[in-house]
């Protein structure tokens, strides 16, 4: 048996495929974890997970986006240490990266 050609439904099927893939990613972490008993070891792993996600996301991005990005993130973290305010940290980082890029970095 062969499927009929997607034809004019192609774009909608492509969007539907993307939506399904994304939703599966969204729920599968919770579904998988519900099969894993929360032993102290698993708890320690979960406790380390948020920071690990943040670092694993950001570090390679600095390498890919360059010096301006790296300094912007450093400025944002410094601002966060001093004032504990996300908005201020965001503005600080954006100002640094805009200035650096305007200066040609």
């Amino acid at each position: 048996m062969t499927l009929p050609d997607p034809g004019s439904w192609g774009p909608y099927l492509a969007i539907l495929g993307m939506a399904l893939a994304t939703y599966l990613c969204r729920i599968s972490g919770v579904v998988l974890m519900s099969f894993i008993p929360l032993t102290p070891r698993v708890r320690r792993g979960l406790a380390a997970l948020p920071g690990s996600i943040v670092v694993a996301t950001v570090l390679p991005l600095i390498e890919r986006l360059g010096l301006a990005a790296g300094l912007a993130l450093l400025a944002a973290i410094t601002s966060m240490v001093i004032r504990r305010n996300e908005l201020l940290a965001l503005v600080t980082g954006m100002v640094v990266v805009s200035l650096m890029r305007a200066a040609g970095f």
């Binding site: 495929g17 993307m18 893939a21 997970l49 920071g51 996301t57 966060m80």
Partner: protein
């Protein structure tokens, strides 16, 4: 919304309007960035020949910015089943980080009925994961915060796709204003409230090194999931009490 009685004394699983409003407030610092990102996606979609309806539909049902931009690179005028499956696969690899993000909050989400979690996770993104993680770390237990933040961003994301699509080429390069840096900066700033001392940061060092090496070796976004998993395993193997 308490689901069943628990043996351990914990506050009831809540989902309140007040929580949703708090989520909206907490995520509002990201609105300018999300608006520009949505406009940029709308512009890219119109350049690739998507109709306004198709672009808005994608924003509404996919609601995952980076993967939508990647999809614009792979978009084509004619579709085969193979191309559709390939696009879904690429989308899953770009969004695989949400598997780990939701897993990290699972002990909290598990206390709600499955349909609440299934619904609330439809709006689960980087931004409300960060908001939810921070809130939960402060002792908050109302999942309305996660849902409120996700819903607010979803509405803005879907609506702002429209001017992007209509104005198309008029949109300047968002890179010039550092808009591509909004999420990385927000991520980096999260390190500070997550900080629990040097020993607890050891797994993060493992995560960072593994992610850097993976990014060198493998194209795409695999570095996030490989690095973060390594960090979690390192954390599980550390022997002091959490």
């Amino acid at each position: 919304m308490p689901s069943e009685t628990k043996s351990e004394p914990q506050p009831a699983a809540q989902l309140t309007l007040a929580g949703m409003r708090l989520g909206l407030r907490r995520v509002s610092v990201l609105m300018p960035g999300v608006i520009v990102f949505a406009v940029a996606f709308g512009a890219a979609a119109s350049a690739k020949g998507l109709s306004l309806f198709e672009a808005v539909l994608m924003s509404a049902v996919v609601y995952a910015g980076v993967s939508q931009l990647v999809a614009m690179e792979l978009w084509r005028p004619e579709w085969t089943w193979g191309a559709i499956v390939a696009l879904a696969f690429v989308t899953a690899t770009v969004n695989a980080r949400t598997i780990l993000q939701a897993a990290s909050l699972q002990p909290w989400f598990a206390r709600y009925p499955w349909f609440v979690t299934a619904f609330q996770l439809s709006f689960f993104t980087d931004a409300n994961w960060l908001v939810g993680t921070r809130y939960h770390g402060e002792g908050g237990r109302d999942v309305g915060v996660v849902l409120g933040a996700g819903l607010a961003l979803w509405v803005v994301w879907v609506l702002m796709t429209i001017p992007g699509h209509l104005l198309g080429a008029l949109i300047a390069d968002p890179r010039k204003f550092g808009i591509d840096m909004v999420m990385p900066i927000f991520f980096a700033a999260m390190i500070v409230p997550l900080w629990r001392g040097k020993r607890a940061a050891l797994p993060w060092v493992v995560a960072g090194i593994v992610a850097l090496v993976t990014a060198r070796l493998v194209d795409g976004y695999a570095f996030i999931i490989v690095g973060a998993l390594s960090g979690a395993v390192a954390g599980a193997l550390l022997d002091d009490p959490a």
